[in-house]
C-alpha cells in the first residue's frame, strides 16, 4: 500500500544489487538509523539502557553471528554461550595485559580470538552433520566453561573466580567500568552492531554467502560445482564466532562489567540466542534483530505485567514466566516456523501488491 515502486528502475547492476533496492525500504532504514543514533542517546536513562537497549544490541550481535552459522550455512551450534565466554575472557586478558590497547581493538581482537576457537570446534563439521554436530558443539560449551572456571590464568587467579572490567575510554568518553554513562555505552554497542550488520549483509550477498547457502541447501551439489566443504564450513564457523565473540566481549566489558562464567555464559545462553535466531527467522539478518528484540522484551513485559501489574510474588511469577516463555516459543513455531522475518516478508509482499491479493 505504502510501497510505490513504479518508476524505480535500475540501470546498473550495482543499483539492482543494492541492499535496499526499493527506495521506500531505504528511507525507512535511514530514518530508523537516524533515530537510533541521534534521538535515542538523548532520551535513554540508566534503566532503559541496562534493561533494554544494551541486552538488545548485544544479543542482537550474537544472534546475527549465530544466524550466519545456522541460518546461512546450516550448521547447528549449541555452543554460543561458550564462545561468548571466550570473547569475554579474551577481553579481560587483553584489557588487563595491555592497558594501553583501545577498547575498540579489544573488542575486535576478542572476536578474532573467538573465531580461532570457533574454527577449532568447527572441524568436526566436515565429518558429522545435523544433530550429531549440534551435540558435538555442546562439547565446546561445557569444555570452555569448565576451562574458564578451573584455570586460574584466565581470571588472573582472583579469589572469587569472577572477572571485572577496568575503565576504558574512547574519545575521552568512558565506555567500560562503573563510571561509564548510559548513552556512551549505548552508542558504543550500537556502532558495533550497525557496522557489523552491514558487513554481514555484504558477506552473505557475495560469493562467500552464496557458498554458505549452497552448503546449507545441498552440500553434495555444492561440492560438485566447486564449493570446498571444509573451507566453506570453517569460514562460517570463524565468521559466526567472530560476531559471537564480540558480543561476549561487549556483554562482559560494557554491559555487565563483572561476570562469573558459569552464570553468565551457561548453556541457557546458548539456547536463548538460538531461540532468537529461530524465532527471528533463519537466514535473515533482519530476523536476528527481531528475534533478539522479542526475546529481550518479552520477559521484561511478562515480569512487569505479573509482578507490577497483577501483584504476583516474584518467585511465583518467575515460574509462570518460564512456562509462558516455553508456550510462546511453541506458539510461534506453530504459527510461523520461519520466524518473524517471514511474517514481515509476507506483510511486505502484501503491502507491495496492495490492493491486489496476489
Amino acid at each position: 500500500m505504502l510501497y510505490r515502486e513504479a518508476g524505480q528502475f535500475k540501470t546498473t547492476y550495482a543499483a539492482d544489487q543494492a541492499i535496499f533496492p526499493i527506495a521506500q525500504d531505504k528511507w525507512v532504514v535511514i530514518a530508523f538509523a537516524a533515530i537510533a543514533f541521534i534521538a535515542v542517546p538523548f532520551l535513554v536513562n540508566d534503566y532503559w539502557t541496562n534493561a533494554v537497549f544494551l541486552p538488545l544490541l548485544i544479543y542482537g550481535l550474537a544472534a546475527l553471528g549465530l544466524n550466519i552459522l545456522v541460518g546461512y550455512c546450516g550448521q547447528i551450534s549449541l555452543g554460543t554461550g561458550g564462545f561468548m565466554a571466550v570473547g569475554a575472557f579474551a577481553s579481560y586478558k587483553l584489557m588487563t595485559s595491555f592497558p594501553e590497547l583501545n577498547i575498540v581493538f579489544v573488542v575486535l581482537l576478542s572476536g578474532g580470538i573467538t573465531a580461532l576457537v570457533g574454527v577449532m570446534f568447527g572441524l568436526p563439521s566436515l565429518r558429522i552433520k545435523g544433530f550429531y554436530l549440534a551435540v558435538a558443539t555442546l562439547a565446546a560449551q561445557f569444555f570452555l566453561i569448565w576451562l574458564f572456571n578451573k584455570v586460574g590464568w584466565f581470571y588472573n587467579y582472583s579469589a572469587t573466580g569472577q572477572i571485572s572490567a577496568p575503565d576504558r575510554a574512547i574519545f575521552g568518553l568512558t565506555v567500560t567500568g562503573p563510571t561509564a554513562l548510559p548513552w556512551v555505552k549505548y552508542l558504543f554497542c550500537l556502532g558495533f552492531l550497525a557496522f557489523f550488520a552491514l558487513v554481514a549483509k555484504n558477506v552473505v550477498r557475495g560469493r562467500i554467502g552464496r557458498n554458505w547457502m549452497a552448503i546449507r541447501d545441498m552440500d553434495i551439489a555444492a561440492e560438485l560445482i566447486g564449493v570446498r566443504p571444509l573451507q566453506t564450513k570453517l569460514s562460517a564457523f570463524a565468521f559466526s564466532s567472530f560476531y559471537v565473540g564480540m558480543a561476549g566481549s561487549l556483554l562482559f566489558a560494557v554491559y555487565l562489567g563483572a561476570v562469573e562464567v558459569t552464570e553468565a555464559f551457561s548453556i541457557n545462553v546458548s539456547f536463548l540466542v538460538l531461540f532468537m535466531v529461530i524465532i527471528g527467522g533463519l537466514g535473515s539478518i533482519l530476523g536476528s534483530f527481531l528475534g533478539a528484540t522479542f526475546l529481550v522484551l518479552m520477559p521484561i513485559m511478562l515480569k512487569n505485567a505479573m509482578v507490577d501489574g497483577m501483584g504476583l510474588l516474584p518467585v511465583f511469577a518467575k515460574h509462570v514466566e518460564i512456562m509462558l516463555m516455553g508456550l510462546l516459543i511453541i506458539f510461534f513455531l506453530i504459527v510461523e516456523p520461519h520466524g518473524l522475518a517471514r511474517l514481515w516478508q509476507i506483510t511486505k509482499e502484501k503491502l507491495r501488491l496492495w490492493p491486489f491479493p496476489y
Binding site: M1, Y3, R4, E5, A6, G7, Q8, F9, K10, T11, T12, Y13, A15, D16, L353, W354, P355, F356, P357, Y358
Partner: protein
Amino acid sequence: MAGSPVVERLDEDTFPKILLRNARVFADRPSIREKDLGIWQTWTWAEVLDEIRAFSIGLKQSGFKSGDKIAIVGANRPRLYWTMVAAQALGGVPVPVYADSVAEEMVYVLQHAEVRFAAVEDQEQVDKLLSIADRLPLLEHIVYDDTRGLRDYDHTRLHSFEGIQDEGRKAVAADSGAIKAWEAGIAETKGSDLAVMLYTSGTTGQPKGVMLSFDNLVISARNGNTFDKLDEHEEIIAYLPMAWIGDHVFSLAQAYTAGYCVNCPESVETVLSDRREIAPTYFFAPPRVFEGLLTHIMVRMEDAGKLKRKLFDYFLDVAREVGEPILNGEQVSFGDRLKYRLGELLVYGPLKNQMGFNRLKVGYTAGEAIGPEIFRFYRALGLNLKQLYGQTEASVYITMQPDGQIFGDTVGTPAPDVEIKIADSGEVLYRSPGVFVGYYKNEEATSSTKTAEGWVHTGDAGFIDDRGHLKIIDRAKDVGKLQSGSLFAPKYIENKLKFFPNVKEVVAFGDGREFSGVFVNIDLTAVGSWAERNNVNYASYQELAAHPQVYKMIEEHVDQVNRDLASEPMMAGAQIKRFLILHKELDADDGELTRTQKVRRSFIAERYAPLIEALYDGSKTCHVRTEVTFEDGRKGAIEANIQIRDMKTYEPVGGITREAAE
C-alpha cells in the same frame, strides 16, 4: 517541470539534424533504454549519436545510397530505431514492416517498396526473409541485431549490426574526414524529403505505402509536444508495432523533437512489468490495452478478502463521483476532497502504482472508440487519459481532447494547425501540415484520398457537436441502411457491446437487411474467471462459448445495448434482433482480424456465410465447420452447432439521449 531550455530552431527540420542537436544540448540525458540482461541498459543522446554514426557510415560502406529503402523488421529495439535515422542521414528511407506478419504477407510490401536493405531483429526474422529472398531480387543485404543462432549462417549477404558498425568505425579511423563528410550529408537533408514509408494494413485490398516527409512528421510532432507540454524529461515505453504510425510518432518523431527518453521492454511478455518499472510520464495505447488492464484489475480483485473488496468498491464509487470533477478542476466540497484524498492513499495511488501510471502526465487512447465506463474509470483515478483521432495519412493528429474538455463520446477538437470539415455524405475531411505526400507508386489511390486543395478523406463518418468536438460514428463506407430505412452503423453497435468486459469482439450485420444481427466473441479471460467463480465447468473455448449460462449472460448485455439504442433517435431502428456466440476466437492468423486486431468484416461475412444465413432465416441452431491455423502453422478444422437467440426490442424514447440521462 519547466519547459526545455532549448530554443527550437526550425531549421533543424530532419531527424538526423535533430539528432546532432540533441547530442549537443542533451548530451548526457538518456535517449533510449532497453531492458536487457536484467537491467535497463541506457544510452545517452551523445552515445546514440555515436552508435548511429558508426552504423550509418558502415551502411554507406556496404553500398547504401541516397534514395535507397531499408526495411525494418522486428520488435521495438533501440538498434532498429537507430537504423531508421542512420538511413535517413544517408538520404535513405526506412520502411518499417509488421514483424508478426508471415513471410507471404511480407513479400508484397518488400517488393512494392523496392527495398535493397533490411534491418531485422533476430534469427526468426532472418529465416523469414531468407525464405522469400528468391522473390525479392532487389534485396541485397540483411543486417541483424541479435546474433543468437546465426553464427553458422552464410554471411555473404548477412551482417551483424556490430559488424556494420565496426566497418563504420574503421572507416572513421582510416579517414579523419569521414565524420565531417557524414555531417555534411546530413546538412543536405531537407524537410521536404521523404522521411519514412508506412504501409497501412487496410481492411481491404493490398496495403498502401504512405509516404511521409520530414516536414509532416517534425511539424506534427512539435505541435503534439506543445499541445501537451512535453519536454526532454518524459519517459515513454515503446511497445506498439514499429510499423504503426503511432509508434513512429511517439517513439521517434516526438522523442527526437522533445528530446525525451524511449524505453524498450525486454520482450512482449514482460511489457506489463517493464512498464511498471519505468512508470512512463506519457503513454499511448489503443482502447483494448486499457480494457485489458481494467479486466485484469477486476479479475484480480475478485479474489481479494471481503474487507479489502468493500474498501476497494467504496473508494471506486467515491472516485466515480468526484474523481473527474477534481481532475477537471471543478468545485468539489471539502468532505469529498478529503474522501478522495483518503482513497488516493488507500486505493487509487496503489492501483496507479500497480499499473505503472503513477508518474503519468498525459495518456492517450486512439485507434478505436473506448468504452465510456472504461474511459471514466481511468479518469476517475486521477489519470489524465484523453482521446485523440488520427490517421497514418495525417501523421497521427487530426483531433485531440484539450485538458479540461474531456467528453467520453467525442474525440476532441482539431489539433493545432489542423482544419476539419464534414462532407455532405457525412465523411470527415481534414487538412494539415502533417498530411502525407502520397501513396507510394499509387497515384490513383492518392488522388482519390487527397484532393487538389490538400483535403484528405478520412473514410469515417461523423459530425461536430455543439461544443465544437468531433464525434465519429463509423467508417463512412460501412454506414448503411436497414430495409426499413433506419441508419445502420455497425461499429457503433459493436462498440456498445464490446464495452462489456465479457465481450471481446463483435461483428454486426444489417446493411440492406431486415434487422441488425450480431456475432459475439466472448473474452476468455473474463468469462473464464466468471466461470470459475460460478462453478461452470468447461473443457474448451468452444464449450464455454456454447454454455447456456454464458448465452444468458450475453443476452443480458445485448438487451442492455438495445435499451441504450432505443434512447438514441438516430440509432433506435438498429436494435439487435438476433445474435449468436462464435465458437472460436477471431484470429489474425486466420485472416479474421487485421494485424492491428481490427475485425475484417467482409472476410468474416464470406467465411461464416452459413451463420449469417441462419441469423436471418429464423433457425435456432446452425452447424458450421471452420478451417483454422494453429500457432505452429499447422491447419485443422473445428466443427460446432451454434445456437442463435432472438431478442426483444424497445420503442424509441424520443429526445432523451443516453448522455443526457446520466
